[in-house]
Point group: C2
């Protein structure tokens, strides 16, 4: 298995001013190619440190990916450090020069003199074209290691890696390369420990294919990875585990990759040609925002009311004033009345309501921070649900969890 190191260059990274996301992205791609990433190193714009880091990497791994330090300024030292580490000269590369001239010609702009430094590469190296920037990359052999130097700008780095570095790497790995295929299956509504308890056989150490569980804002995801000598073989190795997860966790599954509860609800609404109107109090418009962040949401979402004040609940949703006065704005009865009112006013198939105490203040012993009531009105009547999401959680978490539970509850109603 080929061992690799990823080196990021830039004082803005060592100082912590910028978060390095390139290295993790590259590590993931190498992992998919079956390459063992052993080290990440971040260094500032210092020539001696760069030379030392390149030499060390060339001694301990076979493949080194470098990001940054290829710009036209004096701080950009990757070219020179690589040449010094190898003991060779920097030479002007005619292809890099032609690319540079073409880049500025397309923009009808003169070429700043300093950009010509970017056409020099260490003798024996090969340039990696950069169609969307002025900094070409460099493919170079130092000792027994191959170096791929790429610009630090994420878009330029990603395009260069995929289009130009991957073929070079495949040339190194030859037929021995393993292809890794991944799936991420998301669930909502069951806690992480419950999901874990129901998946002990899947997450057991040494199981093939590997299954991991991660959690983000109460959405619990299975991550499955399988490898094979071809993509088809890897997919075949993956599929039985995917099928098993779908069979076992059925209704809890809301989608794959970046899909969350709102995508799942949108699918159910579209499949049934149904519409939904929203009456939001403590979630303050977040559910509307989540639904309308999806393109095409006007097909099932006519709109909603953010009834933050009691007057709005009465005037705009028709909640009886005595319900609020006797039961309170945060109550099962108010949630039901809000749902009925909003369904009626928007002529929708479903009316979904949320009322609760998002905090940090406003909680009482009887109605603590985190207490939330949901209401769902439909053609056959209205139902409600009580959630306890606090009291120690911050406002943003209570709003987000309440929104996700409300959306998921509606989704499950439609599937029932």
């Amino acid at each position: 298995m080929i061992k690799a190191e990823i080196i990021a260059v830039g004082a803005e990274l060592t100082s912590g001013q910028c978060l390095d996301t390139n290295s993790a992205w590259l590590a993931n791609r190498l992992d998919d190619l079956g390459i063992d990433v052993r080290f990440h190193t971040t260094i500032a714009d210092d020539l001696a440190d760069n030379v030392a880091a390149f030499r060390l990497a060339s001694e301990r791994v076979e493949l080194v990916l470098v990001s940054g330090g290829l710009g036209p300024t004096q701080d950009d030292l990757t070219r020179e450090a690589l040449a010094r580490a190898a003991g060779v000269e920097l030479v002007r590369d005619p292809r890099a020069e032609a690319d540079l001239i073409a880049f500025f010609a397309r923009r009808n702009r003169p070429i700043p003199e300093r950009n010509f430094v970017q056409t020099f590469i260490p003798n024996g190296g090969e340039i990696l074209s950069n169609p969307i920037g002025t900094a070409p990359g460099i493919w170079f052999r130092l000792g027994r290691a191959r170096f791929a130097c790429m610009p630090g700008v994420p878009n330029e780095l990603k395009m260069m890696f995929i289009e130009q570095v991957v073929p070079h790497i495949k040339g190194l790995t030859g037929d021995s390369a393993r292809v890794v295929v991944r799936r991420k299956i998301n669930t909502f509504g069951k806690g992480e420990s419950e999901i874990e308890a129901d998946a002990l056989d899947l997450t057991a150490r040494g199981r093939v294919p590997e299954v991991g569980i991660t959690a983000s804002e109460a959405t619990i995801s299975f991550r499955i990875a399988a490898s094979g000598s071809t993509e088809a073989e890897a997919r075949e190795a993956l599929q039985p585990t995917v099928d098993l997860i779908y069979r076992r966790f059925g209704d809890w599954i809301i989608g794959e990759d970046d899909e969350d509860v709102q995508h799942a609800l949108a699918r159910e609404l579209i499949a049934r040609g149904a519409t939904i109107a929203l009456a939001e109090s403590c979630t303050g418009g977040l559910i509307s925002h989540m639904l309308t962040s999806l393109a095409g949401s006007s097909a099932y979402f006519p709109g909603g009311v953010v009834s933050y004040s009691n007057e709005a609940k009465v005037d705009l949703l028709g909640v009886p004033r005595e319900t609020i006065e006797t039961k309170g704005a945060v109550s099962d009865e108010t949630a039901r009345a809000m749902a009925i009112g909003v369904r009626d006013r928007f002529h929708a198939d479903l009316g979904l309501s949320v009322t609760g105490v998002a905090g940090p203040s406003g909680g009482t012993v009887e109605k603590p921070v985190g207490l939330v009531y949901l209401g769902l009105a439909h053609a056959r009547g209205v139902e409600s649900r009580r959630l306890e999401l606090g009291p120690e959680q911050p406002r943003s978490t209570i709003q987000r969890r309440a929104s996700k539970h409300a959306i998921n509850w509606t989704r499950l109603y439609l599937r029932a």
Copy 2:
């Protein structure tokens, strides 16, 4: 100036499965303490790699911060690697043992046998207590370098760094330490290049104190850093530049640190005892969500209507049907009618409306994606504004930019 290296340990980091945010956080803190961070290194859970990385760090810097590898499992190798690098034994630390016993006693749970491995530290080291987890940290001298080893869990790492590592570091730096003080001042409404052009004197290289400009979702921020031998001295060095920025950019300034347009609008509304109601079409509830994400928003926000469909604009906001039919839902006239309608229905001092084409579909030659009209109704009448935020921008950017412009426009109206 003391030189430092930050080492993160964990296969989930080298493989790219998790993004390392600890290292950037630690680098920022060290920068504030006037320490020069020269290297970040990330290594997997491999004993030989750990030993080699610790030795290398001890030869090239004076301070090494290590995160991760302190848990109770076989993958947790920091303790052993540190002892091997120094050529010393691991010894049981009585304070670590007492902390561990107390930790489980507070939870009324038996101590798993494997946790006792966490009470061993390299001979000559000192433990760093962890009040919120089971893994104590380690302060240790290796060669001429001091090592602070902390757990990888971000909350535990941050608490341990602030409470226990910083005093150790101050013991090293003594009186020679420089204190760095920072301010971040946020503006909205002017483009990054305009702000830059008006701030060339501030951002000139070598200026003291340093001023940088960063942009995030159309909010442009000045970052100012000044140093001194005491905090008071650093603040004094900073203040004239802060004053200059406030004088020069006056009304464009919306707040400091994490404050954005919604915080600035909330301040203006509270100062005037005014209320605002929202009629959102293309922003789909995002403005409501931004306002209600702030604690205490019920003081100035009675609520709003998300009038996604034309019927909702007519039924709930009283927009004349002929306005929509003749001028269109996305028009100056509809925006004005929405603002008047929502102000009236919620009995608010201000009615703010947004209607536009968020895309990706729905655009025409006359009304392209990104065309947005804002309306603002108040006691003296109604006004409107036209924005062009597309057409190449994604839906999420158009929704977010439209929301921020609408909020900022209202803020400026109140200040005028």
